[in-house]
């Protein structure tokens, strides 16, 4: 109240309480973490729990994420929700490649993280064989609370800058160079057959 009175009394003079200074880097990270949009990549049962997370009870709109962009070009986070089959793997990579930097991947569920209970010919044993994963959320399916925990972990990592630092240090991350050739021409060494 005192601050507002300050402005009312002093006019422009009270404005030294009305500035916020920060480094651009911090502001950018803050903005990125608070309004990241997810690319809808719901595959199987985990997609239902992901939709449940977006619904009114476990609202992820409070974290700025209720918007699931259909177009990967407009998305920041890809939540791989569900089991990735051999036929789907190239599609997954293609969608990932279409996303703009900076981008992050949450692997939701045990099937996406490691192949889950399906240790067989048809399922890729972990999407980290195809795309680099930042946060793994276990569960079969993870309850919405687990998914929110994973999302918040990712947001925290984004805000700390931890992820970008780690990527530069390990030379990890997508490592995608924006070339003229179409993404589908990238050949992917898939997991075991």
């Amino acid at each position: 109240m005192g601050l507002a009175q300050n402005v009312l009394d002093d006019g422009l003079g009270g404005l030294d309480h009305n500035f916020v200074t920060a480094r651009i880097e911090d502001l950018v990270k803050w903005a990125r973490s608070r309004s990241s949009w997810a690319a809808s990549f719901g595959l199987a049962c985990c997609a239902i729990e992901m939709m449940g997370t977006g619904a009114s009870h476990y609202d992820i709109s409070r974290f700025g994420m209720e918007v699931f962009r259909a177009s990967p070009r407009q998305a920041d986070i890809m939540i791989v929700a569900g089991r990735v089959s051999q036929k789907m793997a190239p599609v997954l990579r293609q969608v990932y490649d279409q996303m703009m930097e900076p981008k992050w991947v949450i692997s939701m569920g045990v099937c996406a993280s490691s192949g889950g209970m399906f240790n067989n010919y048809a399922i890729v044993q972990g999407v980290d064989q195809i795309v680099p994963v930042d946060v793994y959320a276990p569960g079969c399916p993870p309850t919405p609370e687990t998914l929110i925990h994973a999302i918040e972990t990712l947001h925290q990592l984004i805000e700390d800058g931890e992820i970008m630092r780690r990527r530069e240090a390990n030379n990890g991350g997508a490592g995608v160079e924006l070339d003229a050739h179409a993404p589908s021409a990238i050949s992917v060494a898939l997991g075991s057959k």
Binding site: N119, Y121, A122
Partner: protein, 167 residues
């Protein structure tokens, strides 16, 4: 219309010329490949107008099985489940398919709903269906090698290794 052969002359019950067995109180017809489509057509006229399911089984790991009524067991079987809405009954057909000649006539003309089932059976077992409009793989990628549900196809199990363990 239904050719129930006189019981006095036969020891096995037959329907449309095929022996009938009962598996846990469910009626099963053992059909050979040549009569297959005509028996299904005759059953469709009898009222079994919905083909609920068509699938295959690979009996490679059960080489010593026997079938009733002197039917010669083969490596593969095509199993067709039919349903009659009017009679509220189900009937099952089992067709023996030898390993060296995995070709069976298609039921697409009689029951168009078998299209997807036959493609899946081809994909998973390698049994081809004559007269099917589109005999391609449906579940696996089109250039996949092998037929996954055959018994000699490995499950593809990767042994899980734990970091820090000796093995």
């Amino acid at each position: 219309m239904s050719d129930q052969v006189e019981q006095a002359e036969q020891t096995v019950e037959t329907l449309h010329g095929c022996p009938v067995v009962y598996s846990r109180d469910q009626r099963v017809l053992l059909v050979n490949r040549e009569q297959y489509v005509s028996v299904v057509k005759a059953l469709a006229n009898d009222g079994f107008d919905v083909c609920i399911d068509l699938t295959g089984v690979d009996y490679l790991s059960m080489p010593h099985r026997t079938l009733e009524a002197g039917i010669q067991p083969e490596r593969f079987e095509v199993v067709v489940n039919l349903l009659s809405l009017t009679k509220r009954e189900r009937i099952r057909l089992r067709v023996q398919v030898p390993a060296d000649d995995t070709n069976v006539p298609s039921l697409f003309d009689v029951h168009p709903g078998t299209e997807a089932h036959e493609r899946e059976t081809f994909d998973m077992f390698g049994i081809t269906f004559d007269g099917h409009p589109d005999m391609t793989r449906i579940l696996m990628p089109e250039d996949w090698d092998g037929h996954p549900l055959r018994k000699d196809y490995d499950q593809g199990f990767i042994p899980v290794q734990f970091k820090g363990s000796n093995s």
